[in-house]
């Protein structure tokens, strides 16, 4: 027997029971669809680990034939992303549709050099959202979210872009836990090992752009948020104070991205304030 290097680093306090997670998530996906009156789902498959994991989980929950994966490359997207997406689809046996978003994005930014990478990246994310929601009509399925807890907390996500979905099965899993679950469910090793990237420009990686490694970031978030530790207590665990404070600021600055926009309270009953109903209740499912 040969031992290979582990495909990812899993901080011990973040390790989850992956059997229970698969059980809960599978039932969650089936019930979300069932309560809304749908049997099918679709998602944007980038070739990265998050969407690959959600594809595996959804296929496991409802069957691959009921899941449409949509690949939406831009002309600068890496070839590796496309081939990794193709590998996931090939292994799962679910249908794949490819929509090149280059004409949509380039048609809007007529002066290609004038727009910052941030603006371009945000538009790409929103074009992909628009395509997914259009395809949700033709496919007759709900859009499954693929964002993880780490990126949601630090705000590394585009409002009304990649975060838009009908429901999200992995939004309460840190990146390290996404890797653990991906390994358990059989996502190809190459996808688990490669550096996470938004793939908005050639060579971009999350960790280089943000300046920290996911296992470190995940641990800081876990102790600060889930375990309610003070900054001093997290420093005592061996983390740099400046890094903790920076993470805190990112989390606070992204609060608006995690919430429904406030409505000016004027009438007797206002959605989200004092008109509070479950999203799915008798009569709410499509016919």
């Amino acid at each position: 027997m040969t031992e290979s290097a582990p495909a990812y680093e899993l901080p011990v306090e973040l390790a989850i029971d992956t059997d229970v997670a698969r059980r809960v998530i599978g039932e969650f996906i089936r019930r979300q669809l069932g309560q809304a009156g749908f049997e099918r789902a679709l998602l944007g498959l980038s070739g990265g680990i998050d969407s690959a994991l959600v594809a595996y989980l959804t296929a496991e929950a409802i069957g691959a034939e009921r899941l449409l994966c949509v690949s939406m490359p831009y002309r600068t997207s890496s070839d590796a992303s496309r081939s990794d997406a193709a590998e996931v689809v090939g292994r799962l046996g679910c249908p794949l549709e490819t929509v090149d978003i280059s004409p949509m994005v380039d048609g809007y930014f007529s002066d290609a050099d004038g727009a910052s990478p941030i603006r371009r990246g945000n538009l790409m994310a929103r074009m992909r959202m628009a395509v997914l929601y259009d395809r949700s009509v033709t496919w007759g399925g709900l859009v499954v979210g693929t964002g993880n807890k780490t990126e949601s907390l630090i705000g590394y996500t585009t409002l009304f872009g990649d975060s838009a979905c009908a429901f999200n099965p992995i939004g309460d899993l840190y990146k390290s836990q996404v890797r653990q679950l991906a390994a358990a469910i059989g996502v190809p090793d190459g996808i688990i090992r490669k550096a996470p990237s938004a793939d908005l420009w050639p060579g971009q990686t999350d960790e280089a752009e943000a300046g920290f490694l996911y296992p470190v970031l995940d641990r800081i978030l876990f102790w600060r948020i889930d375990k309610r530790r003070s900054i001093d207590e997290v420093v005592a665990l061996g983390f740099e104070r400046t890094l903790i404070e920076r993470v805190d600021r990112m989390v606070a600055a992204a609060e608006f991205k995690r919430q429904v926009p406030p409505i000016a309270k004027l009438g007797p009953r206002t959605a989200g304030v004092d008109y509070l109903y479950p999203r799915r209740r008798p009569g709410s499912a499509r016919r």
Binding site: E13, A15, I16, D17, D19, V20, A21, R23, V24, E27, F28, R31, Q32, Q35, Y275, L276, Y277, P278, R279, R280, R281, P282
Partner: protein, 322 residues
């Protein structure tokens, strides 16, 4: 006479769909009867679903509701515990668990403790019950009925057992959370509940019957794991996590007598001591008496009584701390 078959209906109610859930209850009562069960237990809000929010008022039933009477009519010759939103005559809404026996509503327990913290928001939508009573039943033993969070307060199982219950029944809609790999059975919530139920069974030398729902309301998943724990604290039956099903468990009620003879904890209980000390603590917390157990100069939060209670409490004469 002492043999009892308990049927645990570990179901996934449909949120807000009272008629569908009523029908499902009636079907399962029929199934349990056919299987020879003497007691059928359904989960908290099994007739309505849990995450109701403003739907609570729309699915509420008065105790004289004909739909409840029709359900009770199905219990000829057996006992069933069902749970729903009860609307009182003064229009307060309660989370209720009712004992239905021989065609009638025999006893109603209104949930005493409404969690309003973390992922819970029950106090916003419901009123808390004020009464805790064990109830006799056709089974020949006292039943002590409680709802979910009621069992996170030590006094509840203790009082029910002291009041004559030999079978404690907790009906729950417990949302599963904390998947840390270090947890027993992979779920933090299950680990906590299993610890509580074994402890209560042993300390009250009673059977503990726990019926928890499965399924998904909005974001939350309910974990099932219904159990029957013997008076020794040993599990007589543990249902699988997350699986829907009607599970039958055979117990001998004679185990209660055996355990209480061997381990006479209830005999040795000191009710007057508890009542006396509780009376003192209540007075001290209310500022009607000085905190007799606080060390001088104790830091805030390190004693149970408020640190800044008035030195001469109103209506308490000249008593003050020296």
């Amino acid at each position: 006479m002492q043999a009892l078959r308990i049927a645990l209906a570990q179901i996934a109610p449909r949120l807000g769909a009272l008629d569908d859930n009523l029908e499902r209850h009636r079907a399962l009562i029929g199934e349990a009867r056919a299987a020879g069960a003497g007691l059928v237990v359904f989960p908290e809000l099994g007739l309505t679903g849990y995450q109701l929010q403003d739907l609570a008022a729309e699915v509420a039933m008065r105790l004289d509701d004909p739909r409840l009477a029709a359900l009770a009519a199905d219990t000829e010759g057996l006992s069933a515990i069902v749970s729903f939103v009860e609307e009182a005559a003064d229009h307060r809404l309660f989370i209720a668990a009712a004992l239905l026996e021989d065609g009638a509503v025999r006893h109603v327990h209104r949930k005493l403790f409404l969690p309003t913290y973390g992922l819970f928001d029950e106090r916003r939508f419901f009123a808390a019950g004020d009464v805790l009573r064990a109830t006799p039943s056709r089974l020949g033993v006292g039943l002590g009925i409680a709802v979910c969070e009621d069992f996170w307060h030590l006094g509840v199982p203790a009082l029910l057992a002291l009041d004559g219950a030999q079978v404690l029944v907790n009906v729950s809609s417990s949302p599963g959370r904390d998947l840390a790999a270090t947890n027993e059975v992979g779920l933090g919530t299950a680990t906590s509940w299993r610890t509580l139920m074994r402890t209560y069974a042993q300390l009250t030398t009673s059977f503990v019957v726990f019926c928890n729902r499965v399924g998904v309301d909005e974001s939350i998943s309910f974990w099932g794991g219904s159990e029957v724990i013997a008076p020794t604290g040993a599990a007589a039956f543990s249902a699988p996590l997350y699986d829907e099903g009607l599970f039958s468990v055979d117990v001998s009620l004679a185990d209660v007598r055996r355990e209480r003879i061997a381990l006479p904890l209830l005999r040795d209980e000191r009710l007057e001591l508890q009542a006396r000390e509780l009376g003192r603590i209540v007075a001290e917390r209310a500022g009607l008496a000085p905190d007799s157990t606080a060390a001088d100069g104790a830091g805030p939060g390190l004693d149970v009584a408020p640190g800044d209670a008035p030195g001469r409490p109103i209506g308490f004469g000249s008593a003050g701390r020296s």
